[in-house]
């Protein structure tokens, strides 16, 4: 909250190689995923990741509205990423902005790359992502939430989509940037991985890094995604698990 008027760049990496919150360069923030967090969506998930809180809901496959978006051979995948007005330090004015529209587009396309949309021609799969509390990496948190929500909605797809941002701060390549590292760092590189194929279906970069740094960053990101993948699978197991203790109750 000290960003207003703050000119001092915080020390992002200590001489011992520790980050401002004590993490090592390859460490994720704590992540907790609740599958099926909402009652009225076909699928949903709530992700608490560091200081991010993101809710995602999936509706569909269902009839397409507006109808002119209907595609004859596959489901149209629509995504709306939105930030609540109170999710950031400076109140965000409600409504569409260019950043949210761009993020919505690249997330929809990432899912279009893994969802078996051709099984549901002329329908729509609608993904809604609401950022309730933001602290860097909300598009990745939103993507992870939406991916678990899609699985919870029973949508067929090649795989879950773990996502994470890698970046450069204090001269080092670091995994899973938090707000100060995002604000004062040198680069931010969000990505989403298809673990089954090892390919990336979302990749953006802001800032600058060398070829060598990029190679390191990609490795680190893939590694981070594989860790998140396990948390995502566990969230889905927990939702549908048989509770042995209660089984005899």
């Amino acid at each position: 909250m000290g960003s207003v008027g703050a000119k001092d760049v915080p020390v992002l990496l200590s001489p011992e190689g520790l980050r401002i919150d004590g993490r090592r360069v390859n460490e994720l923030r704590p992540i907790k995923i609740t599958a099926g967090a909402l009652k009225h969506a076909d699928g949903s998930a709530f992700v608490e990741w560091g200081a991010n809180k993101v809710m995602a809901a999936v509706y569909g496959p269902r009839e397409v509205h507006p109808r002119h978006l209907q595609q004859n051979t596959k489901a149209v995948i629509q995504c709306k990423y939105n930030m609540a007005a109170f999710s950031v330090d400076e109140r965000k004015r409600p409504g569409l902005d260019r950043r949210s529209q761009e993020i919505s587009k690249v997330i929809a396309e990432a899912f279009d790359s893994v969802v078996f949309a051709e099984e549901f021609p002329r329908t729509s799969i609608d993904i809604y992502i609401e950022v309730l509390q933001a602290n860097a990496g909300t598009r990745c948190a939103g993507l992870v939430a939406a991916s678990v929500a899609l699985a919870d909605a029973g949508i067929p797809m090649a795989d879950l989509l773990p996502a994470v941002a890698v970046g450069k701060a204090g001269g080092a390549i670091i995994l899973d940037l938090k707000k100060e590292e995002d604000n004062f760092g040198e680069a931010d590189l969000p990505m989403a991985l298809v673990p089954q194929s090892g390919r990336l279906v979302l990749l953006q970069m802001e800032g600058h890094m060398t070829r060598e740094e990029l190679a390191t960053a990609l490795d680190l990101g893939v590694q981070g995604c594989r860790g998140i993948y396990e948390v995502m699978k566990q969230a889905l197991r927990d939702r549908y698990a048989v509770a042995p203790a209660e089984a005899s109750a």
């Binding site: 549901f120 909605a153 029973g154």
Partner: protein, 251 residues
């Protein structure tokens, strides 16, 4: 292993494509979904709600990805073009059978056949389509328990929509039993728990009785005309019992 429903194959390996329970029937491997909308299959009997009326057909919401058109020739009525709204209106509930599915996703349904038609009275309860085999139970055991203990008439659509008819108390107890099945469908001993709930909530005169007094009269009631045969994958004994949809199998 041969990839069955709910799976796909890449480079000699079979992967799950939906969240569900792994089921191996060598050489076939499949994943039975735990969630999701109703995916129609030919001959499924389903409950639908009229969402739109056109000159020669109605559109039904059957909980599927698309609305299902019911053409006027698929009804027992002799209808003139433009008179469709005199027979079924928006909000009416019907029991129909899935007749055909075409590659464009169109779901053809018919109301011609035994047990099909417009529903009158009673109430409607929705359960997840993946829970339908549990609502019906092995050999219809669950649904028979429910109808026997409540005296209600119950019809289960394959799409998870359940029509319940009877006195308000009976409908309420069926609703609660269905809620239990929805929430506890993965656990064993469910039929016994539902049975003991229904016995405990029976009218005071019935409490502790092995059979409700009106049992014999109810035997003739159409217990579950639309849920005659649960699909074979419905029983959990055939599954490994883990919910790990992203488990891969070597070919």
């Amino acid at each position: 292993m041969k990839p069955g429903p709910g799976t796909y194959r890449v480079g000699g390996r079979v992967y799950a494509s939906v969240l569900g329970l792994l089921s191996r029937h060598p050489p076939l491997v499949q994943v039975v979904p735990l969630s999701g909308r109703y995916i129609p299959k030919p001959n499924d009997v389903v409950l639908g709600t009229v969402t739109d009326v056109q000159g020669t057909f109605w559109l039904l919401d059957i909980g599927a990805p698309r609305w299902a058109p019911l053409h006027m020739t698929g009804t027992p009525w002799k209808i003139e073009i433009g008179e469709t709204d005199q027979y079924l209106r928006v909000g009416d509930s019907v029991v129909v059978r899935v007749e055909n599915l075409d590659p464009t996703g169109r779901i053809g349904v018919t109301m011609l056949g035994e047990g099909l038609g417009k529903l009158e009275g009673g109430s409607i309860v929705n359960v997840a389509p993946a829970r339908v085999p549990r609502v019906v139970g092995r050999g219809g055991s669950m649904i028979q328990t429910i109808t026997r203990r409540t005296g209600a008439q119950v019809a289960v659509g394959q799409n998870g929509r359940v029509w319940v008819n009877g006195d308000p108390e009976a409908i309420h107890r069926v609703r609660e039993a269905l809620r239990m099945i929805s929430e506890e469908g993965q656990r064993t001993g469910l039929t016994e728990r539902v049975d003991s709930y229904l016995r405990a909530t029976g009218r005071s005169g019935e409490q502790g009785l092995e059979e409700p007094p009106n049992e014999s009269a109810r035997r003739d009631a159409p217990a579950a005309p639309y849920a005659s045969s649960p699909p074979s994958e419905g029983s959990d004994e055939e599954h490994d019992g883990n919910a790990d949809g992203w488990h891969d199998e070597n070919d």
